[in-house]
Amino acid sequence: MFAYILSASKVEGNILVNVLKKQGHQTSQISMPSEMDKGLREKGDTLIFVDWDNPDLDRGLVQDLGKTMGNRLFIVSANEAEPQLQSIVQGGESQFIPKPIEPTIVKSKVGTVRKVMFSKMKLDAKVINAFIQAVTNTYETMIGITPKREKVYILEPSDVNTAADSLFDISGVMGLSGDYSGSVVVSFPVKLALKSVAMMLGEDEKPSLDSEVRDCVGEIINIVSGQAKATLSTTDYKFELALPTVIVGKGHKVHIHEDSPTLVIMFSTEGENFILQVNIRPANG
């Protein structure tokens, strides 16, 4: 997410920048509202921090911002009881941050806003369906079995890579770039990976996750991503594919865009589960 810091002193501005950057936000310190990029300001996930105590601040503008930004407007002040400030904070969802600025308070308030935003975020059904279809078609055509879709859900960024059913023992990872960017991951437990590879090649099951098994998992994510890409090419969701990579080992992590929802689709086949994970956002978002 992007955060504007308006009219703050150097010291206070730096405190805010440091906290926000640690949370993964891009920031820009400005002295006039006219310096804000209109597109960014109107984006649904841009945050604005305003130093209420700056005598040059146009407080009427802050009042207007309060109406449109809701909980994404943070008013920083040493005087919480100031009536006009109170009317903005109590009249809407705008948040108050007391001076001297405590990084933990900023982190907590921004974290709450992010949680609310992500709980409302949905992934377009087109994207979900394209990937479900891609996995099913790939498995049916190349492996000869139809996986069952078990559940579909969105993970918050803090839960990705830590949730109990996020990633298994071996994952094929595909990077996406273009109008939309992100990653697609297909992740298998060992037994299912070995079984799927054997069925795909029409050969005996390998005893371990050797280079051939890893290559096969890479090819599975390649085909799944290609199928989804083709299906979505007639929509707004256009992207190019990188070359696939494969990661092996319990507890491995995959980098994601932290300001975008992560879709997880769990499938079951041959008595085991595997997952498809999609993290995607507009390239300029």
Partner: protein, 121 residues
């Protein structure tokens, strides 16, 4: 027939090779990218057919097709076997010199049919 299979995935080369063996073909040479493909063409004369992937490191499939078209092997028919499924990509490959196009995932029957269309056999 002598067939060249070009794909950076050893899995996909194996799958295609197994398809071809199922059709009774046994003289199959593999390459992991377009550069190696060009080398194999010059080292082993008399190819009857080439199957190539698109997205490969070093020299991708489209570059490889164009390279073949500019070489002594331009008469060898080429089938593109790829995940790139959009119409514009198919047109691009055919304009570059591919004679036919297979989108992954595919069944052995699809490979057989596409070969039949290209070679008229």
């Amino acid at each position: 027939m002598k067939i060249l299979v070009v794909d950076d995935s050893s899995t996909m080369r194996r799958i295609i090779t197994n398809c071809l063996k199922g059709l009774g073909e046994n003289e199959i040479i593999e390459a992991e990218d377009g550069n190696v493909g060009m080398t194999k063409l010059s080292e082993n004369q008399g190819f009857d057919l080439i199957l190539t992937d698109w997205n490969m490191p070093n020299m991708n499939g489209l570059e490889f097709i164009k390279s073949v078209q500019g070489s002594d092997h331009k008469s060898v028919p080429i089938i593109m076997v790829t995940t790139e499924a959009e119409k514009a990509k198919v047109v691009e490959a055919l304009k570059a010199g591919a004679k036919n196009y297979v989108v992954k995932p595919f069944t052995p029957e699809v490979i057989k049919e596409k070969i039949k269309q290209v070679l008229g056999c």
